[in-house]
Amino acid sequence: MRNTIEFKVYGDYALFTDPLTKLGGEKMSYQIPTYQAMKGIVESIYWKPTIVMVVDAIRIMKPIKMESKGMRPIEYSGGNSLAHYTYLRDVCYHVRAHFEFNPHRPDLAFDRNEGKHYAILKRSLEAGGRRDIFLGARECQAYVEPIEFDQGEGFYDGVDLHFGTMVHGFNYPDETGVNELAVRLWHPVMKNGVITFTRPEDCSLVQPIKKMQAKTFTADDIEPVDLLHEQL
């Protein structure tokens, strides 16, 4: 696929919070990452409003393990409460993703220089990302490294698993062109250790949440890709 990168992301802990456990504050992780969490990681490597990152597939390299920790989350009113957070332990995923230009950003059409964006993306990945990487929650630091997707042995090679209903991600106005925030659900299936993501616009289980406006950008707010590419 055009403009594709392949990399591995790994860390000691991950917390892809199941929203049902988030309401009360005793967070527990999903067994696998959501599309949105993976997209966030790709966007941490390199992103501009001009482009949309699309995650194609992930490969689960290590066994899914859980570990709980006692936490002292901060309260609005000051002070702490006590909660149990349940994390995934020792995770590693191989990710395949690519970028496309955001069709809902005609205002940024001047910034669409595919070759240069791709070159910067690859160079950023080489460097470990332009922003720091975390797996689902800020306290779960992670690292990215370029690697071939099919390389190496995964724990679930040859294994198929169903994960029930999960959050896929959020529809934000700047990527859908609709002025609302919506949540997408899907039924992920792992085949031979690989989860192939449905594209966000193909998800059928969508629940609108609330009205929301896209942020506007002008040429003055952002640095054109041509300039950035020259600097690098």
């Binding site: 199941d18 929203p19 049902l20 456990t21 988030k22 309401l23 009360g24 504050g25 005793e26 527990m28 999903y30 066994p63 899914i64 393990k65 859980m66 570990e67 709980s68 006692g70 989350p73 901060i74 309260e75 609005y76 009113s77 409460s81 006590l82 909660a83 149990h84 957070y85 349940t86 169903h162 994960f163 029930g164 209903t165 999960m166 959050v167 959020f170 925030l181 949540v183 659900l185 899907w186 039924h187 289980l205 969508v206 629940q207 949440i209 609330k210």
Partner: protein, 624 residues
């Protein structure tokens, strides 16, 4: 699959169990609750005739009041001054129309009016039926307290108001000792009594359940996307509590973002962050409560639960080989408990035999606990293919097992080969007086050792070695148990057997054997005298400074060797033999690893085994 989905499916697999009462411990019954129902303790049963007339009333004996009642979302979570009646059975202020007339005070609204209107709607709906209508017909007359007073169940003061509490010295009527607090807390249940036909009691009658479930489903609110099934269904915002026990207020799903940073930021309301359908929430919670009461293991309120979605009973990952064997009741007991080396094999055969009886299904492991009183957290959740689960279980219990002595309920000494329960490992590591929190946390850490095949954490193993090396500080039986468990856990890493390996030239192992021989020799010389041997008393020092301590122990042995003379030649020989196997460069004061315990145990086991097995003539010939 998510835990909610598994619980939901478990409920749907067991619809035929709904409403049936079961008991695990004597006197304590539980059921798989129908949706839109809950349980309450009732104090008075009021019998009503089919025409809606008062028949009789009786006070329910203590312990017999457990009643399955219909309930709405609001009523099941009512608190304080909120008026939210249960649909059918409820407390006196709700069900008695003459409550005010007898001096009762409503906090704000007239509870009876709300109650009777709701009951009217239900009984007049298309789901209403004759017996429900009889109850309604009677209650709308509003003369319940009057009838109860006439029936001499309740009593009045001289001014005609109800006697709320019984202050007189003379003997109390039954109802006043059963209801704690005043009579406003008396819970009334209704039953239709007919001389012509024997009706099932409403709290055991599926006609009542079905009628209310169907009626309540029609009251439906807005439908939302359910995060568990992905279907558009009527949502629920109030979720069940009383999950671990009847007094447990902690909820698994709650929303409390007025005070904590939980979902706010992107969302303003809890319903924006996640939604779950009423049906799924009810079924999943009911299934969870049922499973916990049925087969959950509680350590300091932390629940360890293993269940299968179709056949719920599952060999639990936290149990010992011994107690698991009880599950396989069709397997000959002796096979499993045999001390011979085939013990482990027999266990795995039994396990496979048991598995064969089960359908293909998913096995779930769930650990839940509450950090604070209000919220429950899922600390661990795994769902396994059954095949895989049994494989892991088998290898935990059969790979490198140790022998354990166990006293069963009849105080009979039993020996089994296998693995101890996780709770036993934790208490052996930290002692019987350890904080319960530490014990439950350790058990939780050990669960992945069983289900993921991880090795036992180093710190736990070190604690075990430490305590097993200190027999002086423990009672004899406690030390034996600790020693066995320590050996078992060391062995999970070393992969040996209980049987003595006389060719092993490992330094720590040989030192352990020496200690056992010294202990055996001295014990023999002491005869009936019941005191610790030098070997046992110096065990701790020996593990730290083996070479130096061995000199002390050996010199202390000399008088006993002299006393016993020719009777212990073979032991002296053995000591020499083991000593000669030790490489001179290994005879140092470097502290011993846990492996010395294996050498100690196996050597001792071997000596006592010989005494039991070899017949006397044989032993004499050795001694001669």
């Amino acid at each position: 699959m998510s835990v909610w989905q598994q619980l939901y499916e478990t409920y749907n697999q067991h619809l035929d169990e709904v409403g049936k009462s079961e008991s695990r411990w004597e006197g304590k019954t539980f059921t798989l609750l129908p949706i839109s129902h809950t349980t309450q303790t009732a104090h008075i049963t009021v019998n009503i005739t089919p025409n809606g007339e008062f028949h009789t009333a009786e006070v329910i004996e203590k312990g017999g009041g457990n009643t399955l009642i219909p309930s709405t979302e609001d009523s099941s979570s009512r608190a304080g001054s909120v008026i939210a009646p249960y649909p059918l059975h409820d407390k006196l202020p709700y069900v008695a129309g003459d409550y005010e007339a007898f001096g009762g005070v409503y906090k704000k609204d007239n509870a009876y009016q709300v109650y009777i209107n709701n009951l009217k709607k239900w009984s007049e709906s298309s789901h209403g039926f004759d017996r429900l209508k009889s109850i309604y017909t009677y209650l709308q007359k509003g003369r319940l307290i009057e009838d109860l007073v006439n029936e001499k169940v309740l009593f009045t003061e001289t001014d005609g108001t109800l006697k709320w509490t019984w202050k007189d010295k003379e003997e109390k009527p039954k109802i006043y000792s059963i209801v704690t607090g005043g009579m406003e807390g008396a819970f009334i249940r209704f039953h239709v009594h007919s001389s012509e036909q024997l009706y099932k009691e409403p709290w055991q009658d599926s006609e009542f359940y079905q009628s209310f479930i169907a009626y309540y489903a029609e009251q439906a609110g807005d439908s939302t996307l359910c995060f568990v099934t992905g279907e558009q269904k009527v949502g629920s915002t109030k979720h069940a509590n009383k999950i671990r026990n009847a007094g447990d207020k902690a909820k698994l799903i709650s929303a409390n973002d007025s005070s904590g940073f939980t979902y706010r930021g992107r969302f303003d309301k809890a319903s924006e962050a996640a939604t779950i359908s009423y049906e799924v929430s009810q079924k999943a919670h009911n299934a969870l409560k049922w499973l916990i009461q049925r087969q959950g293991k509680l350590i300091d309120q932390r629940v360890f639960l293993v269940w299968g979605s179709q056949v719920t009973e599952m060999p639990s990952a936290v149990d010992s080989t011994f107690s698991l064997a009880a599950l396989f009741n069709d397997v000959e007991e002796k096979e499993v408990f045999d001390t011979n080396r085939d013990g482990a094999r027999a266990f795995s055969d039994a396990l496979i035999g048991y598995k064969r009886k089960l359908p293909q299904q998913t096995v779930n492991i769930l650990i839940i606990d509450a950090a604070t009183t209000g919220r429950l957290a899922i600390l661990y959740y795994r769902s396994f293919d059954q095949e895989q689960y049994f494989k892991r279980l088998e290898s935990w219990h059969t790979e490198h097992p140790w022998e354990y002595v166990y006293f069963d309920r009849e105080k009979k000494r039993r020996v089994f080969i296998g693995a101890p329960s996780l709770h036993d490992i934790a208490t052996a590591a930290y002692g019987p007086r350890a904080n319960e929190k530490l014990i439950k946390a350790t058990v939780e850490r050990l669960v992945p050792c069983v289900v993921d095949g991880r090795i036992v954490p180093d710190d736990v193993r070190r604690c075990l070695i430490q305590r097993a090396s200190n027999p002086v500080g423990l009672e004899a039986w406690e030390w034996e148990k600790t020693l066995q468990i320590a050996c078992g856990m060391i062995n999970k890493k070393e992969g040996m057997t209980v049987a003595l390996d006389s060719n092993l030239k490992d330094r720590d192992y040989l030192f352990g054997r020496l200690l056992a021989l010294a202990d055996y020799l001295e014990r023999k010389a002491l005869g009936k005298e019941n005191r610790s041997t030098n070997a046992i008393r110096y065990m701790n020092a020996f593990s730290q400074n083996p070479a130096r301590t061995w000199l002390t122990i050996q010199s202390a042995l000399q008088p006993y060797q002299a006393k016993l003379g020719g009777k212990v030649t073979y032991i002296n020989k053995l000591i020499d033999e083991v000593g000669s196997q030790l490489d001179p460069s290994d005879f140092t004061n470097k502290p011993l690893s846990g492996k010395y315990l294996l050498g100690f145990y196996s050597q001792r086991h071997d000596l006592y085994q010989k005494r039991e097995e070899t017949n006397l003539s044989n032993e004499e010939s050795v001694e001669a």
